[in-house]
């Protein structure tokens, strides 16, 4: 079993989820007087998930390799996106989105701060003009 194999870890994670589904579904009625209960369907797909994920864990291919180079940049972008979502309620969509755009342009793509500020203001203004003003769609 190769400890660095991506299939091993994703398989184990899905096996844990399958185990959780089976464990939780066992707490619900399986078959009642009126027919199948809320535990019926989850129990079966939970068992299937558990079995298939264990199959994945034990049948890893030797050539399985994941290129993680560059993943740090993706995770940083996701982190910034998650933070901008988290502060939506406090600062509102336009500020949060403009800061996220500035971060992507200036930090992730190393563009000059002036360009980043222009893009950030431009896209935020564009969203305001298109969604609430033109289409009447509320922003988050």
């Amino acid at each position: 079993m190769r400890l660095r194999s991506p299939d091993l870890w994703s398989g184990l994670a899905l096996a844990a989820l399958g185990g959780y589904i089976v464990y939780t579904a066992r707490g619900w009625e399986y078959l009642g007087q009126d027919g199948p209960g809320p535990g019926f369907f989850p129990l079966w797909y939970g068992i299937a998930m558990l079995a298939l994920s264990l199959l994945l864990v034990f049948s890893q291919k030797e050539d399985q390799k994941v290129e993680w180079k560059g993943a740090g940049r993706a995770f940083a972008t996701w982190g910034a996106f998650a933070v901008s979502v988290a502060v939506l309620q406090i600062v509102g969509f336009l500020i949060s989105f403009a800061v996220l755009s500035f971060f992507i342009v200036a930090v992730m793509y190393r563009r000059p701060p002036g360009v980043a500020a222009l893009v950030a203001l431009g896209v935020a203004a564009g969203f305001y003009l298109i969604f609430p003003l033109a289409l009447g769609v509320a922003l988050p």
Binding site: P6, D7, I21, P38, L52, R73, F81, V137
Partner: protein, 500 residues
């Protein structure tokens, strides 16, 4: 003759300037609604419904139906250009449409989507006109076991959506089934997998998962490159932007099967255009000589789901008008509109209201032509979106995704879920899990569980009901056959190896 006379009468009404105007307003609004993620036809029709009380019912119906089928045209645009599905039925279009855009064939993909939509939309109207009453009676023969068979057939398509690993595709599908199961169980009111969160009681919206996995996942995957990728190539000149004659030849079967399958699935209440597009894509791949290339930017991979998605509209109007049964959220609102205007959709609807029915049918022919004329010249304009540098395009995609999800549910919790599903989409990509089976499981999971439980209730717990009824037996056999295809090919390869 009766049909011909009715159609002529319908054209006479639909070609009146006022009806032409409302038809244009409907298809134009529909195209915009289809392009905007999250802003779907049900919400738009519901918002416009009060305004229609001041209008002639025929004009109002023409406009509302225009929004319905116009949205199907527009839905493909963001799927192809940005990998953001404009509406749920356009998810499958992302698979090959976006890959075509990456190869510099965005224009061809948009053009094929428009042509497939036109052909299938017209077939759908023909079907509505010619076979509405008998097909509606056939659809009535569909009970829970038959629906379970249909859903099982849909889920079997996972075989055709799988990438390199069938096990991973099945796991992704099971993850989709689990996500579909989150929320309150409608039979027992038991809350399942909600982790104590009130927001999860009503389940997870399909749009949140689809946009997160496809759009945010795509942005994150692109962010790995430190140097901004060059804007996606766009050929110069309208002729080079539109599909070639070879593209059209390659799509002949896709146009035909997408149109017919979409219409037939549309007739079944509750099946919906998303299932139609998945099944049509699966069938196209199964019968294609270049099935291994699907998912890499194959033009048939755009034509088949787009055709099915549009033809489904005509099909969905069959049970609505002839039985008074709405098969989807949009048709439910259209039904409400008809009732509010004083009509009674049902077996006598067409004979009692020939003018309304035939003007609607004729307006759908006209609307499809309008949509083609509206969409094809816009292809070069839409394709220009790809000229935007990555550092401008990616924040815009993130913003559209947030607004799209929020406009669907009005919940900031869903926007938070969007971020979570974005990370899931990225990790699935990195770990080589196909994302289409996840969406397939999510779309079909709820309906499949409901059909299975209702079937078992009918049979007092006996599974034999699923194979005792001919339609469900045929569908389940087909599903099993499709699931066994990879096994057959493996055995065949093994035999070949032994022989050589």
């Amino acid at each position: 003759m009766e049909i011909f006379g009715g159609l002529l009468h319908g054209f006479a009404l639909a070609l009146q300037p006022v009806n032409l105007f409302w038809c244009f307003v409907g298809v134009f609004l529909g195209t915009i609604v289809g392009i905007m993620p999250g802003l779907g036809p049900p919400a738009t029709i519901a918002m416009l419904l009060p305004l229609t009380f001041l209008m002639n019912p025929a004009s109002a119906m023409i406009m509302l139906a225009g929004i319905y089928y116009g949205a199907k045209y527009g839905g493909s645009t963001t799927s192809i250009l940005l990998n953001v599905p404009g509406e749920s039925a356009s998810v499958v279009t992302c698979l090959d449409g976006y890959q075509m855009a990456r190869k510099g064939r965005a224009g061809a993909a948009l053009g094929i989507a428009a042509i497939a939509s036109f052909i299938a939309g017209t077939v759908g109207v023909l079907g509505l006109m010619l076979v509405a009453p008998p097909l509606a009676r056939f659809a009535l023969a569909f009970s829970s076991p038959e629906y379970f068979g249909l859903m099982a057939l849909g889920l079997a398509m996972v075989v055709l959506l799988a990438g390199r690993s069938m096990v991973k595709a099945l796991l992704a599908m099971l993850l989709g089934l689990w996500l579909a199961g989150i929320g309150t169980d409608l039979f027992s009111s038991e809350s399942r997998f909600t982790f104590g969160r009130m927001e999860l009681l009503s389940g997870i919206d399909f749009v949140v998962v689809a946009i997160g996995v496809f759009a945010i996942g795509e942005v994150l995957a692109n962010m790995e490159e430190a140097t901004p990728a060059a804007p996606l190539p766009i050929p110069k000149g309208l002729r080079n932007l539109l599909p070639t004659v070879q593209d059209l030849k390659d799509c002949r079967f896709a146009f035909a099967q997408g149109s017919v399958l979409g219409f037939l699935i549309g007739v079944l209440p509750g099946a919906g255009s998303t299932i139609a597009s998945f099944i049509s894509y699966g069938v196209e791949k199964a019968f294609s000589r270049r099935r291994d290339e699907f998912g890499t930017g194959v033009v048939e991979g755009v034509a088949a789901p787009e055709g099915a998605n549009n033809s489904e509209t005509g099909g969905a109007l069959v049970p609505l008008l002839t039985l008074g049964i709405p098969g989807s959220g949009t048709t439910a609102i259209l039904l409400a509109a008809l009732v509010l205007w004083g009509f009674k959709p049902g077996p006598l609807f067409i004979s009692d209201n020939p003018s309304l029915f035939w003007s609607l049918v004729a307006s759908m022919y006209i609307g499809n032509v309008m949509l083609l004329v509206l969409n094809l010249p816009l292809v070069p304009l839409f394709a220009q979106v790809l000229r935007a540098p990555a550092y401008v395009l990616f924040p815009i995609i993130l913003g559209i995704s947030m607004v799209g999800v929020y406009s669907t549910s009005g919940s900031l919790f869903d926007v938070g879920l969007l971020a979570g599903f974005g990370l899931l989409g990225y990790l699935m990509r990195k770990l080589d899990y196909p994302s289409a089976p996840l969406i397939l499981g999510l779309v079909l999971g709820g309906a499949m569980e409901r059909a299975l439980r209702q079937s078992l209730m009918m049979s007092e717990g006996s599974l034999s009901i699923l194979v005792a009824r001919p339609i469900s037996a045929v569908m389940l056999s087909l599903a099993l056959l499709i699931l066994l295809i990879p096994l057959f090919s493996r055995v065949n390869a093994w035999r070949q190896k032994l022989l050589s």
